[in-house]
Symmetry: C2
Subunit: 415 residues, 2 copies
DNA sequence: ATACTAAGTTTAGGTACTGAACAAACTTCC
DNA sequence: GGAAGTTTGTTCAGTACCTAAACTTAGTAT
């Protein structure tokens, strides 16, 4: 079940054991603490098989015994659980952003054990240097004794750019000037553990979605993550998997048309959501309206106007600036138009609002909720839970870590 | 592999054989005619295993030998293929509409062997009578000798209404006054073969998507089917599976907002696509504009105006009525607004235009294509193939039949 | 102490896969 | 035409993994 074994594994066709190992691990994780008998009953496997597989899992540091229950006649049941903390196995999720590399070490239960942040060196970032940097962080994060990475289940990496999650190639990353970099392959050679690479916003989406649930079990129903910031993106998760699309660009939420004759967007279309509700648009709108408003009622002084940044604008909203609040409410209406369409179309069970704009909380959530009531169909709307993202800058790392961990209890049929 | 065997099958855990049977069947179907050696090479299984599984498949009438090739030194290879026609196994797809029950018998290659259509009796249709009617059609369609349905792999049923495809329950079918009918269960008891029940538009979508491909192999990428008629619906197929959603209402394309302050829709929202581009809206628009137009240039005479039906309107478009054409072109613009959003969001490889309105062909397709060029993002747009539906009233039946057949070469891990 | 009960382990038997040897059915070449 | 060579498909011994049933372990009940 670890990487070395996978590579010199028999002949890819002994699916049985993998399926059953995964089944037991999955059951164990959702019902823990649990005894072998109950695992047998839950999974439909025989007690003998469960014993045999549990033995293996204990050997691999994935599972541990935690004493016995009191009995009501008969031998006491020995409770098992997924082995938590540093003593068990773990995974690391990395997020690469413009200036930082954040690494988050999670245990088998998806809990954070340690984090590490490196500032990126100025100037061009070489793919090889990134690999080097990640290798160093891995050494920092896992226990120093374990230099073989044997405790490490795998590593995930989120990158701002277009990634093919299947091959793990970075197709384009404008910020770093990369194109067609086989980063997954490079990392696997260096780290000797399986690596998963994906877009950082999608990784954050996975994180928020998985951790919204209090269990790492995935729902089969669609769940949507919305990232509201300078740009507006999203990720749709169906049956626990990210929708990627033919060219891996699925999730473009910001270019849904919400005002057919509205302002020109950078993409060439008129009235894209991003053009009216992206942060730059909100700042412009604020400046436009502030001319009509009495300065005394504003949190932002007219002197700041020429230098008004998105961050400062968001502060004003949080500080209760009524004009900023109005601008956000207007944007919420526009967001709701697109969101209502997507809710009707995908019928999700969960929508998570993420990105900088989402941090203003109720100032955004309330008007969106209201507008959705007018715009969305009653049945799908009644099924959807609308919440705000809660993991902050840890989201991507956690999503990647949890994804790696989850793969232990999934079997991918190779086709 | 047939239904009786499935029920008293060992103990649900002999997954190995099922996986490998499915793998061989899948490979065989895409690469046929093919010999055992090549199957072994393609699937990675040993020659011994392939021989053993092929023997089983031949016994089950799923596969047949079709003579040998000429050799270039060495024993000649015996070519195998999926057994076509009545001699092989087959499936039946039924579509229930307001007045008709259409049954389509397809062979293992997805080709139509026979069709049958019954007019429904007037008045309330009892679920039990439907089961009875389907049972009769099954008897008509399969060879009379085979009264045990042994040749029948399974049956699919498409119903206009809200269906839970997992349980096969009809949640609501307004046209028939049904609610919460376990139609799948009822049919399985009667027919003694596996039954799949789903919404008829989604079944049609599956049909069009599967048959657009010239092979029954499913692409992993998203594909979209649009049904343009009185109402506007859609179905999104991802990894060969229909997106259903929490409450099984996914695909509501008609209630995407395309004109935020537009006309009131039946759903309560303003400016839904359906309210501006559904057939009733087009007819109204035609009547509205016809007052300004010179009657001589119209195909429809003013005398018809009070009785103008959607069907007549569509005839006028096909006849080249310039005003009707203009109305369709306007609608195409609105459709393109919603479609561009969905293309950006889902990044599909295929969009199929279906439903009555799609039958006007280029009058609709051209303006949509043009508008998409302005509205959709270049990268996703460049990947999408936009075509018109081609199966007509057979679509749903074919989709269901093909779905049943496809299940032979798929393994669903039970969780 | 003895009987009962339930959890977990051991064992014998069955299924399904694989590699290697073998049989079958060709072509080639002298 | 027969020996040699080639390739396909089958048979067989060995292995992995599952199950049911018997057994061991470790408790409670009386």
């Amino acid at each position: 079940m670890n990487y070395e074994q996978d590579t010199n594994q028999k002949n890819s066709s002994t699916i049985q054991r993998q399926v059953n190992q995964a089944k037991i691990l999955r059951t164990l994780r959702t019902l823990q603490p649990i005894a072998r008998v109950d695992l047998a009953r839950e999974t439909g496997l025989s007690k003998a098989t469960v014993s045999s597989i549990v033995d293996e899992l204990v050997l691999e540091s994935l599972v541990e015994e935690i004493g016995a229950t009191t009995s009501r006649g008969g031998r006491r049941r020995i409770l098992l659980r997924v082995r938590p903390g540093r003593e068990g196995r773990c995974a690391i999720g990395f997020e690469l952003s413009r200036n930082n590399l954040i690494g988050i070490l999670v245990d088998l239960e998806g809990r954070v054990i340690a984090t590490h942040r490196d500032l990126l060196p100025a100037g061009y970032l070489n793919p090889a240097s990134l690999v080097e940097l990640i290798q160093q962080q891995v050494q920092h994060l896992i226990t120093p004794q374990d230099s073989t990475n044997r405790g490490l289940v795998g590593v995930g990496l989120g990158i701002p750019g277009l990634v093919d999650p299947n091959t793990g190639r970075v197709l384009v990353a404008v910020q770093f000037g990369w194109s067609d970099i086989p980063i997954k392959e490079m990392l696997e050679i260096q780290l000797k553990v399986p690596v998963k690479v994906m877009n950082n916003v999608k990784a954050a989406a996975l994180g928020e979605v998985i951790y919204s649930n209090h269990s790492m079990e995935h729902s089969p129903n669609p769940r949507l993550y919305l990232s509201l910031g300078e740009g507006i993106g999203s990720a749709l998760i169906i049956e626990g998997k990210l929708l990627s699309g033919v060219s891996h660009t699925a999730g473009e939420f910001g270019h849904i048309t919400v005002a057919p004759n509205g302002p020109l967007c950078t993409c060439g279309n008129m009235g894209c959501l991003e053009a009216v509700a992206g942060l730059p648009a909100l700042v412009s709108r604020y400046l436009e309206l502030s001319r009509l408003e009495e300065p005394s009622r504003l949190t932002i002084t007219p002197g700041e106007f020429p230098y008004l940044t998105s961050a400062r604008f968001l502060e004003a909203v949080s500080a209760g600036d009524s004009l900023a609040d109005r601008v956000v409410a207007e944007a919420a209406d526009q967001i709701a138009i697109a969101l209502a369409g997507v809710i009707n179309f995908t019928n999700p069970e969960l929508v998570i609002l993420g990105g900088p704009l989402s941090q203003v909380g109720a100032a955004l959530l309330n008007p969106i909720t209201q507008a959705l009531r007018r715009r969305a169909l009653p049945l799908p709307l009644s099924q959807v839970r609308l919440i705000t993202a809660s993991l902050g800058s840890n989201a991507a790392g956690l999503g990647l870590g949890a994804t790696i961990i989850s793969q232990l209890s999934e079997v991918v049929l190779s086709r």
